[in-house]
């Protein structure tokens, strides 16, 4: 039994207020109130959660402690001893990361005449993309337009977004949906062909396209299949541990680690596309996360070491609704679509306390306030706090069976732990979800570092300080395609010089000059969840 008797008492209150709440809309928070609640309750503002970077292009900028330690980590590679004469793979374009951005980039790069290798840390498709449930935004309905989409994106990002990047995002959106459909992605539609679309937090039009609640999986498995059909070389369990430069200051390849044998190999590439996704597995401030096992911010570390500038690294997205009960799925995502379909957030007394579709940062802050300050949270058997997401409302509002049809993944996930979300509310609390910022890019996915292109969650600037739901699946396809194309064009004209790892020696020196003696080797590659009761043998 997942719910305690205290929790059941609260559920009775939720049921008692439900009929009345069906008629009630909680008012949206005024802008002033939003700013205040963010400052007081959002984890980005928690005292001591971040520190200033001491070395590198973002010296002086703040970022979470856990990330700062990795950005200022030492290399896994002994630069002086590594043999750069022996090249194991050569290609026009090395795509790093087997998620949606990487797959899109690989396809477009190949279409534009490049010979591509895609390398990834786990299996191809073990990625945040696979887990996206809610959907993808595109302004393709008659009552909508890229102009309105633009406004929503900017507002969601608190007007900090890079305008050119937003423009590309919203203008490419409809053709990206078309591209996906052409590859065989299925979107939910009305029988005569109109796309089904719903609201997401911060949208002013219903423009969220979806594939049941397996939107990301549908996109990922289709793109992956296409990459395989086109016989693009894919290397699995082969994460990049360092970028390689040439003597002209261009990125010229990478060093891969075979996760199973421990061997390194060297790839020489005319251009490199970084598509390594986010960093939820760094568990900032101890938060649980929705991210996949390999989300350890590696791309930021790799790019930082060759001198790429990062943008908006002091803002992380905490998804308002992570599972808070049962313990076994703590932090896993409860898609925003549940609220999009009409479920309200209510406290221990069964009362609403926030409009259900505020932007995520505001929504998460309101939940934290409800639990921490107002003490109106619900407490589980493992002392986890949370508030109710009143899912049964959906079937009452939209007709019986709506939850089962629209949210099969959610129903299944809770059903595995004997919680029937069609009948009982589910308990949620914010969870670390998305890296709003990342490597600063231009509209073609290029960076200030010659031959280095970037796409997807690892990039920064598109969403400013806060991403809206559905704009990330959009970003990875829009910018994956753009980076793939631009990198392929660039590869045609690149002349590589001598390969070098001098940047690693420079890096060592910079660390020394800043009096840093990093204990951690980075990138992290995988989080360590193992438990050992004695020091572990070095034999293995």
């Amino acid at each position: 039994m997942s719910y305690t008797s205290e929790m059941w008492k609260s559920i009775r209150k939720v049921e008692a207020t439900r009929q009345r709440r069906l008629q009630e809309t909680h008012p949206r928070m005024p802008p002033r109130g939003q700013e205040e609640i963010l400052k007081r309750f959002h984890p980005d503002y928690v005292e001591g959660g971040m520190r200033e970077l001491l070395v590198g292009p973002n010296r002086g900028d703040r970022t979470p402690n856990e990330l700062a330690d990795l950005l200022e980590g030492r290399s896994h590679i002994d630069a002086a001893a590594f043999d750069l004469e022996r090249v194991d793979y050569e290609c026009d374009i090395l795509v790093i990361g087997g998620g949606g951005a990487g797959a899109s980039a690989a396809l477009l790069a190949q279409e534009n005449g490049a010979q591509v290798i895609l390398t990834t840390k786990l299996r191809f498709g073990d990625a945040n993309t696979m887990m996206a449930q809610g959907g993808i935004q595109a302004a393709d309905k008659p009552n909508d337009s890229p102009v309105i989409h633009y406004l929503d994106v900017m507002g969601g990002g608190h007007f900090t977004n890079v305008p050119e990047l937003v423009e590309a995002l919203v203008m490419d959106a409809p053709s990206v949906i078309q591209w996906l459909e052409d590859l065989g992605c299925i979107f939910d539609k009305e029988p005569e062909g109109t796309m089904k679309t719903i609201h997401g937090g911060g949208t002013s039009r219903k423009r969220m396209h979806f594939a049941r609640d397996y939107s990301g999986a549908e996109i990922m498995r289709t793109l992956r299949d296409e990459v395989r059909n086109r016989q693009i070389s894919v290397l699995e369990f082969a994460p990049v541990v360092e970028l390689v430069m040439d003597d002209k200051g261009q990125v010229a390849g990478a060093i891969l680690l075979n996760l199973e044998t421990g061997d390194y190999s060297l790839v020489k590439a005319k251009t490199v596309i970084m598509a390594t996704g986010g960093g939820g597995r760094l568990h900032y401030q101890g938060f649980p996360t929705t991210n996949h096992y390999g989300a350890t911010a590696d791309g930021l570390v790799l790019a930082y070491r060759v001198g790429a500038k990062l943008a908006f690294m002091d803002t992380m997205q905490y998804h308002p609704t992570g599972a808070a009960c049962p313990e076994q799925i703590l932090g896993q995502l409860v898609t925003e679509k549940v609220r999009g379909l009409g479920a309200q957030l209510v406290n221990v007394e069964g009362e609403q306390f926030v409009y259900p579709l505020e932007t995520r940062d505001v929504e998460a802050s309101a939940i934290i306030r409800e639990c921490v300050e107002r003490k109106k949270g619900v407490v589980t058997s493992t002392e986890q706090q949370g508030v109710w997401l009143d899912s049964p409302m959906i079937d009452i509002l939209k007709g019986p069976g709506t939850i089962q049809t629209n949210l099969p993944a959610m129903v299944r996930q809770f059903g595995r732990f004997d919680i029937d979300m069609t009948k009982e509310p589910i308990l949620i609390y914010p969870t670390l979800h998305y890296q709003n910022g990342g490597i600063a890019i231009k509209p073609d996915g290029s960076t200030d570092i010659p031959n280095l292109y970037v796409a997807g969650e690892v990039a920064g600037g598109v969403h400013g300080r806060n991403r809206l739901m559905g704009n990330s699946l959009l970003e990875i396809t829009v910018y994956g395609r753009r980076a793939g194309k631009a990198a392929a064009q660039r590869a045609k004209e690149v002349e590589l010089g001598e390969l070098t790892l001098e940047h690693l020696q420079d890096w060592e020196q910079q660390l020394q000059e800043a009096d840093l003696e990093p204990q951690i080797a980075s990138p992290l590659l995988l989080p360590d969840y193992t438990r050992h009761t004695r020091p572990v043998s070095k034999v293995m």
């Binding site: 393709d140 053709s175 979107f187 990301g216 996949h292 009409g342 595995r416 438990r531």
Partner: protein, 226 residues
């Protein structure tokens, strides 16, 4: 409150673990750093397919290690990789017909309708049923019934006819999405409008707008009712 530990067997070796953990967490608790066999950790990627047996019971059971809680006397083995046949095809060249399906995956017709796959599926998909539809060449039905497939490979691992059910289903979904799904008129129209530059001027105006004005526009935008 200390939890009682329970015995489980990971690839034959005994470990004592807390009973509230998932199989995946239990392996980590026992000291395994997972490389294969862990992806999303949320039941979406199929990386953690696990076959197990409970001591004293001859039946083999299946589950996703990230979604299944340990039980006492569990004997665990992971199937992080299963070499199922994946045909190579050019989706542009295909036709959404039964013949096409059988040509690409002729083994579809060898299905024995034994139902083992359905019993093996952690997503509770009636795999045998969609394979029966595949035998009939009903692409739309396979696409719909197989939609929640996470391609974990457990059905293929247990199939006596060596079917690659998940790949058959994937082909059907792609054929459906590309050729059979009703077309979206509004999508085409919007793409044409964008191509014709209909929104260029207004977007350019927003791009060069000062923050105060933009904020104002944002605040005043009308919101489509839920």
């Amino acid at each position: 409150m200390a939890e009682e530990l329970i015995p489980i067997y990971i690839m034959g070796k005994k470990y004592e673990v807390p009973p509230s953990l998932t199989i995946m967490r239990a392996m980590e608790w026992a000291g395994y750093k997972l490389i294969r066999g862990a992806g999303c950790r949320s039941g979406f990627c199929g990386a953690c397919a696990t076959v197990y047996r409970i001591k004293g019971d001859y039946r083999l059971r299946i589950g996703l290690a990230c979604q299944t809680v340990v039980e006492p006397e569990m004997y665990l083995a992971q199937i992080p990789f299963f070499p199922a046949e994946k045909a190579i095809y050019d989706i542009e060249e295909l036709k959404p017909t039964p013949e096409q399906l059988f040509q690409i995956y002729p083994e579809i017709l060898r299905c024995l309708s034994c139902g083992t796959c359905t019993k093996a599926c952690p997503q509770e998909i009636d795999v045998m049923d969609y394979m029966a539809d595949a035998m009939k060449g009903d692409i739309a039905s396979v696409a719909s019934k197989s939609f929640d497939c996470i391609m974990c490979g457990l059905c293929a691992a247990r199939c006596p006819a060596e079917e690659a059910q998940a790949n058959v289903a994937l082909l059907c979904r792609r054929l459906y999405g590309k050729y059979l799904a009703p077309k979206s008129q509004h999508l085409w129209e919007r793409i044409e409008e964008i191509g014709a530059g209909k929104f260029d001027e207004e977007v350019a105006k927003l791009k060069s707008m000062g923050e105060e004005e933009l904020r104002q526009r944002y605040k005043e935008r009308d919101i489509e009712p839920a």
